[in-house]
């Protein structure tokens, strides 16, 4: 088993347990807790929280709060999926092989479960005990920016507005840098913030994160064409059917694959500049660009 596989196996368990703990300790109406837990504890790859922990591992820093910060990012990711799946948005019935939140709990509770998760994330960070006040404020600031109107929420809007139009590569990239890139990038930067990484290290992590974020989305687009619904746990081929703007639709499938490799190379180059190109962050890049789900 590779280092990465061992790392993922061990840490996924820790993340799952902490996510369940953070939801269970809430004093909230049962129906709301169930709806929040349903999506948050529905498995998934946990790439974002794993990335937080991978950066700390690579920088050889241990901090008990890291897994909690990791979980708050997953809360934000989970809320965004609940809202994205709503009838008024992507209208998806299936997510990770299970009925989506609003199918099980109804639209109103799904909206509120999402609202509950995004709001909870910030409070949890503010209450941490093993980080300095400055580190916590830095995390709140950057998480708000990455997840909000200037990041993920804005990217979702751009994606929506682009429907039915032909986007240029620059426009498509702007969608993805915001919609999926911002929060994924934040996961990597959060590791650096928790580790009190140097300015040089933060810059390298930022560059790595930017290109990995794009690579992740390009591979997502490729998988929609090459993967099966079974592998993906969601409807495959939906992008083509709905004439969505994707890397393959603009660059052809071959062109998208080339673009993916370019992003990969730039990410690895950034790792090399700080001598982190032989460990988990390299393996993560390999995993993300070669994953089948």
């Amino acid at each position: 088993m590779s280092n990465l596989q061992t790392f993922i196996q061990e840490n996924q368990l820790v993340i799952e347990q902490k996510l369940a703990e953070l939801i269970n300790e809430l004093t909230v109406p049962t129906e709301l807790k169930d709806a929040m837990a349903y999506s948050l504890l529905a498995g998934g790859k946990r790439i974002r929280p794993l990335y937080v922990l991978a950066v700390l591992e690579e920088l050889q820093v241990k901090n008990e709060d890291a897994v909690i910060v990791a979980c708050t990012i997953e809360m934000i990711h989970s809320y965004s999926l609940i809202h994205d799946d709503l009838p008024a948005m992507d209208d998806d019935d299936l997510r990770r092989g299970k009925p989506t939140n609003h199918i099980v709990f109804g639209e109103a509770l799904a909206i509120l479960a999402g609202d509950g998760l995004v709001t909870l994330a910030f409070g949890i960070i503010a209450r941490l005990t093993n980080l300095s006040a400055e580190q916590k404020l830095n995390l709140v600031d950057k998480l708000s920016f990455s997840a909000g109107a200037e990041g993920m929420v804005g990217g979702q809007v751009l994606d929506m507005l682009g429907e039915g139009k032909s986007l240029t590569m620059t426009e498509l990239e702007q969608v993805h840098v915001n919609k999926t890139g911002a929060l994924l990038s934040f996961s990597i930067l959060a590791g650096g913030i928790i580790a009190n990484a140097s300015e040089e290290m933060m810059n390298a992590l930022r560059t790595y994160a930017f290109h990995i974020g794009l690579a992740f989305q390009i591979q997502d687009d490729i998988l929609d064409i090459e993967g099966t619904s079974e592998q993906l746990g969601k409807t495959a081929g939906k992008d083509v059917l709905s004439e969505k703007n994707t890397y393959p639709s603009i660059l052809t499938l071959e062109g998208a694959k080339k673009h993916l490799h370019m992003q990969y190379d730039l990410a690895i180059e950034a790792l090399e500049s700080v001598n982190l190109h032989k460990g988990l962050l390299l393996e993560f890049a390999n995993y993300i660009t070669k994953r089948t789900n």
Copy 2:
């Protein structure tokens, strides 16, 4: 003109300007900015932000960040109204005399405008420059709690679950303590946090805030019966038509008015304990229990 009227006139202007400034400085897609601004800048009484500033005035503390904190609370209030008005929730077409957000921008953009506002609030607080790190974290912590699943969002769920059922007074109170009370209370406490108020003062403010929060909701329920749609800027009489649980429906209109006065008395008692019963906070209590919209 009373002190309160002068205070409100002067400060509403400052709040309106700051709200516009905070939205305008965002680098986000125009459509999203418009949708966020539409609801946030739609007027309204601005009771929550005014309360933040009123507490500071009473405690004779000046802080340039106070108006910004006040605005973040209005962002949270505004997002909650946008989501509450959605077809899947209260399905309201009219708010403050204007078409609701989803009527103008569509459901998807309304959901995302709300998501953008709630997420923005926390980042703005984290980036303030005239408060200590501890004060900012305290604000983020308490705002997250008051606005989230254990506060406002949970209250909204309880309200929804109570539809079509007969609630007891205790159950109704639990709805309102969370749904409207938590965020209104936070506004008052936020003033105390910004002013670095003593433990004794914070306790008095907390008691005052709790009872004012309830009084506010009771008056809301009374106005739904006694007010006109024109006065309210929303459909009057809707509670009765939809057989909603309200203070008048449980206690009769007379009983609700008595209960309102009891809450008022308890709020003023708390002010007396810290010698704040002759100023703006008293006048605010009078205003809230006698308002016609």
